[in-house]
């Protein structure tokens, strides 16, 4: 089905899946969800109690987005220096239309400067970005 403005119908446009997905992700992008072990991003302990994780978006979003993330005990895990830091939530710290930094400064504790990877560690973990109108 094709909807368009105006009184004159134009030929039906066949759009490939990738193009349609890219258009959708401009408004809503599900980054990691409902699968244990899925990576969220690379990050570092910027202080002994504050963790930052970087996320790149697959396409430029309409605006700097809202982060939609589920919260629960040990939903997310930061693997660094052969140790795990569990977190219950993530919050957006800085955001543009192409990238965002997420952070946690309530559950983590570690050595400042340690780098690692943040991943989903609960089947209910959910990370998405929204730039809906």
């Amino acid at each position: 089905m094709q909807l368009e403005a105006g009184a004159v119908a134009t030929p039906f446009e066949f759009e490939d899946y990738g193009t349609t997905l890219q258009k959708c992700q401009r408004y809503y992008y599900r980054h990691a969800s409902n699968t244990v072990g899925v990576a969220i991003g690379i990050g570092a302990m910027i202080t002994s109690t504050t963790l930052y994780v970087m996320v790149n978006f697959p396409t430029a979003m309409r605006t700097a987005p809202l982060l939609e993330s589920s919260t629960g005990t040990n939903y997310y895990n930061f693997y660094r220096a052969n140790a795990f830091d569990y977190t219950n939530s993530l919050t957006i710290a800085n955001a543009g239309i192409n990238t965002a930094y997420l952070y946690n400064n309530t559950e983590v504790s570690g050595t400042q400067g340690d780098a690692g990877v943040m991943f989903v560690d609960n089947a209910s973990g959910y990370i998405a970005f929204s730039s809906e109108l």
Partner: protein
């Protein structure tokens, strides 16, 4: 009634969030065209004040 929490970072920008139904919805004050920020801004204009988070 929605309860907003706000944390100002060392670089002067702020993270603002609220929680509903097991989800945290967070955004920054860096882009005023963000719909969530506009909703928050309207809430503040009504005289409401977000709780300040000083955990960092």
């Amino acid at each position: 009634m929605r309860r907003y929490v706000k944390q100002t970072h060392q670089n002067g920008t702020s993270s603002i969030w609220y929680e509903e139904n097991g989800y945290r919805y967070s955004f920054t004050d860096q882009d005023e065209t963000n719909t969530a920020y506009q909703t928050y801004f309207a809430w503040v204009a009504e005289g409401n004040v977000a709780e300040e988070w000083t955990g960092e």
